[in-house]
Every structure is written in structure tokens, then in C-alpha cells.
Amino acid sequence: MNTSQIIELGAALLILLGSIMSVISAFGIIRLPDVYTRSHAATKSSTLAVLLSLSGAFVYFWVHEGFISVRLLLGIVFVFLTAPVAGHLITRAAYRSKVKLTDNSSDDALKEVLFPEDK
């Protein structure tokens, strides 16, 4: 087993880690009680998952074919840039469309600001 093969294996393991992360966040998405908590699972851990696997792929191509893929790098940057915004927008939309919080939540500070009439 030479260096490049080891690195390839490492890349593969990176990807596997990503996929495991993804499954975890998937579980989060079904197990967590309301949309606000679920969006944590979806946006945070699955962003991590995709970053891991894209990096793995990037490393693999780099090592295996000596190919530095600008597109992959760009993709990583892009996901990194957009995922938080997307998460933000969804949860905001959820809140504004009055999706209920889970019963366990103790405090809703925003409510008074946004929907004073609902009091």
C-alpha cells in the first residue's frame, strides 16, 4: 500500500464519515419534535456531511488523477455560503407562517415582536 492509496483510503473514509453524518441528521429529521429543531439537524449536520464528502471527493481526484477540481472547490464554497441562508429563510418562513413550536419549548421571545395581536 503506497501513500497515494492510503490517502485515497482516507478520502474514502472521509466520505463514509460524511455519509454517517448524513444518516444521523436524517434521524434527527424524523426524531426531533418540531420544525425548528429539525432544521438544526438538516442544515447543520447535513452541511457538515456534504462538506466532508465533497472534500473526500476532492482529495480523491487530486491524489488519484492529479486533478484539482475547481468545480468541486467552488461547490464546497457555494454550499458553505448558501446553506445557512437557506436554513435561515426556512425557519423564518416557518415562524411567520405560524408553525407551532413543540410543546416542550419554554419560551418564545419573538412572538411579542412579530405577532403582538396574537396575545
Binding site: 483510503l9 466520505i15 437557506a86
Partner: protein, 94 residues
């Protein structure tokens, strides 16, 4: 070895897609579904990256970026729809 790991990873990605699908079907609220769809998109990105390795081709790297772009646009569109019903406004309020 590498290939086996990659295939396992792929299966796991597919598995999370399936779970996200459950959330889309189940709901209960629109944002739930949006979150799940976003997640499917993200998983697809990863899957494509892995498939590219498996198939030993660089042909699909464009797809990764495009999918990233589109998942973003779709999410914005849907959340705007959920929030306001209109996704393209004539004139913004501010």
C-alpha cells in the same frame, strides 16, 4: 476496499434520502417538507460526488455545483412561497 467503502457510503446517503422522503410525505408543516427537500438536495450532491469517484469520471462535477445552486434557489422559492404566497414581487416594500 475503497470501492466497498464508497458503496456503503452511497447506500447510507440513499438511506437518508429515503428518510427525508418520509418527512416530506409526513409533513406536517410546509417548512418541514422544505427542510427535508433541502436535505435531499444536499444528499444528492454528496451522492453525485461519490458516484463520480466510483465511475472514475469528472463529467458530473458540474452537476454538483448546479445542484448546490438549485437547491439554494428552490429553498428560497419555497420558503418565500410559504412565507408570502408570492415568490416574485413586483415592488419590494422597502
Amino acid at each position: 476496499m475503497v470501492e466497498k467503502i464508497l458503496l456503503t457510503a452511497l447506500a447510507l446517503f440513499a438511506f437518508s434520502i429515503a428518510i427525508a422522503l418520509y418527512r416530506i410525505i409526513k409533513g406536517p408543516s410546509m417548512p418541514d417538507r422544505t427542510v427535508a427537500l433541502d436535505m435531499i438536495g444536499v444528499n444528492l450532491i454528496s451522492s453525485i460526488a461519490v458516484i463520480s469517484i466510483v465511475l472514475k469520471t469528472k463529467a458530473f462535477l458540474e452537476a454538483i455545483l448546479i445542484l448546490g445552486i438549485l437547491a439554494f434557489i428552490s429553498t428560497i422559492a419555497i420558503s418565500k412561497y410559504v412565507e408570502r404566497g408570492v415568490i416574485v414581487e413586483h415592488k419590494s416594500d422597502n
